[in-house]
Subunit: 381 residues, 4 copies
């Protein structure tokens, strides 16, 4: 008999809708898909949002109280798509009720919360995974393979950045993402969590961090009262120097004020034997340089090879096949597919809450470093 | 009461599955979407394919005889995803039964068939649209807006190409796409139809054509009998010189032997006032050059602007919003959404069968030109 | 004793000055350079131009009559930098006086002239070379090596173009390059000669040609009488279909109306085993695709490698060394160095007048094709 | 009467030869050039080097003792192309004898030396300029114009890097550039000096710095005794966080271990109104983003414009004209031309020794920061 995944989703804003779309597409893209996915319930911020969710996606049930949702017996998987400050309560409650959980990044508001979450996840044995879906970009999956094969040799240095420009307009109003009490952090939490996870995915654990943060636009209008200004206390830009356990050094930047760019996640790594470059605005390609390749005159034809990663890695896409270009929604589908597969096959998830905690630690260390103006060892957090 | 679209799909191979996925995603991406889409029936090549379609997408009904499908009263929209040689019969039959039709390119095996199809479409008044979905790439939609605003000025010349490399391996077996009696033509039909449609979409009608075609790999193994070779009679590469009614001249190439590239549809247009460049392998960008812009020293800062078209055109995407990168499946969703919207709102479709006929005419003229080694006026076809 | 090259230059406009600069730089870049180069004399259009040449470059002697120059005993090398319509007379005269010759492209006004020139060159045994200096771009030199090593396998097709935009302004006045009686041809002569030579250099001889030419801007103001218009009879744009002796097919375009681009010479070649791409606006790189490389999962990591050709080919530059970027003047220096080395070492030159004749033949065939609207076999010229 | 520049060059290695070539080319590229440049004397490391200099470039005089050269009455301009540890002595001596000086970067071994040099330059009133020739890349000159016009608005952040890969091979032997006592510093001195100067040129003075330095390859073979290893004490990689006086923040990296790249100097700047990007490996282009440009639907066509800077800025090149691509030697010619023009016209030079001192200060502050692990205010140096 086919396993049934009975899904409840907490939060039906932009990202909750993305998760919903991903669920619906999984059986269409991955074939045969050995489970039935039922979109059972949703917790939304308002009745209007409830109606929309039920209409768009066929959720059978809606509530504005997440407790009601996560306690239901007819749901076994919870997607946490609520603002950061609600993660802890939702996750704890859902775990108490034995639900498997797929959670948006960052895991929590701080390391203390994140540790409790991880601890309870271990105790309950529930499946858990973070929405750090850039790990599922084929180019990144190929990069991971290469790193594991030793392609880079000894890693010297890296440059990582996740750059947005959406907040350059000082009239853009206040929101929970700009409010420290609801978001927990600024660009570092929002964007930095993704790129920190990728650096760790590719290069292993962080040893220590030195950070500089800056809030350039220090107040913004309230959303419904444009004449009143609210103070912004989170970082517009965070810049980190990082030392890795493997000896590599590098920089990492998270910026909401990178005028001119749109959704630019970049990573470059230089090792003794090879180098790798990736830019999310060109998501179908991975650039690799092989220092061992000495074919050609005068010590080899030096140059980066721009691999069409498209949908070829880790294995060719079942659908629509390896040769067509992909974009942002595809990574969400692939990431969620990975999670539900681990549920179905009862195998370990990755990136899981513990990976979320590792990111949380380095973010907390970074804020501490910026405040204390000193290097912070991650193990001291 | 909400309009109901009751869909029957003819052909559940790769492309039929893509249409199915597009239908399922329309209400998720476009919100509110004022109709109910029901995936009612499917005509597949085998019982296995039938089972798959019903399981994956919930089709209620399956047959291996398209007549059975298109005659059903509980279906009002037919998607034609069958091999080219079947289009004519399917379309004629479906139109007789008053179905609205969304049809894969090319419209038919030849101009004679295509004309009959167009004629019957006019007589029956059914809604009809071609799957020429690259018109719905945001970059192309922005290009179209610019052209209509007169951005280019007087158009001098263009370079257009649709380049694949999938057939460079001579061991790749024979298939209906390589069989003239089933495909009708080769690279020109398969790839050329898309790029011809785009050139016409942006620059208007063709005046005349001169073509050179070549079949480099003249025989290929049979699919199930690799020791037997079948003759290939269709073009691997077609190269066209074109004269447009607006006076512009240009080249257009369709190739299945473009070693090194993957799915590369390119178009470049030079006009007296501006220029445009696009490459489907970088689908999120449109490059534009404005010859009127004289800001900067010495007659202006010359250069192409690389516009982030992403999901911003013709208007920002409702979901997932304008800023995320997109890929190949997205154009199918947008194209099919456009079709069903025209059904719902009872407005004229585009590109419709007549547009399909226009492409068919220039393809037939091209083959004639290659054979006769002379310029062929499109109006002579 | 070191050989002495005693140079006389015919024409001291832009290109004559470029040749002069190249001579002066040769001993500085190539070290040790086993000859003395003396800039002896110049033939310029006016006394002002004479003064400038003597002042800038130290020419000892100047005349406005080329005969006087080429007959001098104290000169053994002639650079022909005069307008096209003068080449024949200058070259014949110079050869009669036994001078070695370095000549700007195109070789002559037509094939008849070119044949006489080649004939006399053979009879006199003088060293002769064409200024087809793009052969000396390191990226092209690496491409040539690869082709000779069989990197491409069986060549299927190519796309070649040399695109300028300098004539898009209809107010740009008439000049000898636009005057058929002085230039001999239009964009095809001026730009096409370069790219035709490169295609032939890389892919061998042409079999036949079909051409379309167009003059979009049919009259232009006289240089000194802007109210008077002169008729333009040469091509603004020429587009050629070509069949090569090796079976490859392709297109070649020469355009002076390619709005938006600047000095864009492009070549792409697809073969059964590999592909090559080059663009003169990024002259420090050659892109190559190796179809044999199956390393990586699923049949190999497909992708073009962007080789830093810089100054590494055919061997690392003596100065300024292989790693620094280069531009347009560098190819002139390299090309002229090649010529003078052949003089010094008494070895065969390449590209020589005969190569110039080959280009002349295909250009003449192209014009004939455009007029007669039929394929023209090069051997029929 | 035309001014005479009588040049003596100290050091005839690679860079001394480059300066020599630049001198010879100035009158050829800049026309009319109102001075006579005489290459009078050279100080080289050996008699062999002397011979080469005299033969290649026609120097009349050669010595291995710089004092002899700089004291000569028949020389009025000195180019300092010696290793870093000799700069101080050479410059002081040359200034005592009233010579105008063009000096390779970095100015000196440390700030103390640099201050004395600047002080004596002021007292003597000699003309002095640094070889920070990337200021003379047309793209950078255009960037400077844009910055001065306020194009960027309030500057938020920047990313700057100068990346080489030449030292990734651990067998590359020791040299003066790797020896702290002769080079003064490592990648930061060698590469960082260039990019620090560019950041300061475009964004103004530095406020403070935090640095991390690393020596990955800690010993290297001696040049002539490959079995003996010498300790490397200078940085392979230096990474700086910087705070500018204008409030901007950013990172700057100098690396000799950036596997895969060649000579990659990059700078990106984000301001409230615009953004700028440059990469020296594509030296003919400047990318600019104008946040004010709201033409096009939905708030404007967002995107970077890739300006063909080629040879168009600050004004079109007299020769070879604005449209041809340029490379590394061209910046040297332009930079040295700028210097000699200031001598001829008796106008202030820039970048001069004082600009060199500014760079020296931030480099010294960076090393101090790395050692003390604290932010260092530049004014504290």
């Amino acid at each position: 008999m086919m396993k049934e995944l009975r899904v409840g989703i907490v939060g039906y804003g932009f990202i909750g809708r993305m998760h919903t779309i991903a669920y619906i597409n999984i059986p269409l893209y991955y074939d045969p898909f050995p489970a039935d996915i039922k979109l059972v319930g949703v917790c939304a911020a308002s009745q209007a949002s409830c109606s929309r969710a039920m209409h768009q996606a066929g959720y059978e049930f809606c509530t504005t109280d997440y407790r009601e949702l996560v306690r239901r017996d007819d749901i076994n998987v919870i997607n946490c798509c609520a603002p950061n400050y609600l993660h802890y309560d939702i996750l704890i409650e859902a775990m108490k009720y034995g639900k498997d959980i797929y959670c948006e990044k960052p895991l929590a508001m701080n390391v203390a919360e994140a540790r409790e979450i991880v601890q309870l996840a271990k105790e309950t044995g529930i499946k858990n995974q973070m929405t750090l879906m850039y790990r599922f970009v084929p180019a990144i999956m190929r990069a991971k393979q290469l790193v594991e094969e030793g392609f880079l040799g000894r890693v010297f240095s890296f440059r990582a950045a996740y750059l947005h420009s959406g907040y350059t307009d000082p009239k853009r109003p206040m929101s929970w993402r700009l409010d420290k009490s609801q978001g927990g952090g600024g660009a570092l939490y929002d964007l930095g969590s993704h790129i920190l996870d990728l650096v760790r995915y590719l290069l292993g654990d962080f040893e220590s961090v030195y950070a500089m943060t800056e809030t350039f636009i220090k107040e913004r209008p309230l959303p419904n009262e444009p004449d009143k200004m609210a103070k912004v206390e989170v970082d517009d830009i965070s810049i980190l120097m990082l030392r890795m356990k493997n000896g590599a050094i590098g920089t990492l930047e998270a910026s909401r004020l990178a005028t001119g760019v749109n959704d630019e996640l970049r990573i470059e790594i230089h090792g003794s034997e090879g180098a790798i470059r990736f830019n999310l605005m060109d998501p179908n390609w991975l650039e690799v340089y092989d220092n061992r390749d000495k074919s050609g005159p005068i010590g080899g034809d030096r140059g980066f090879k721009k691999i069409e990663t498209i949908q070829r890695y880790p294995k060719p896409a079942a659908f629509p096949g390896p040769k067509f270009s992909i974009g942002w929604t595809r990574y969400h589908i692939a990431s969620l597919y990975d999670f539900v597969t681990h549920i179905i096959e009862d195998t370990p998830t990755s990136p899981n809450f513990e990976d979320g905690l590792r990111v949380q630690e380095v973010m907390e260390a970074a804020y501490k470093s910026a405040e204390e103006q000193s290097w912070i060892s991650i193990s001291s957090i």
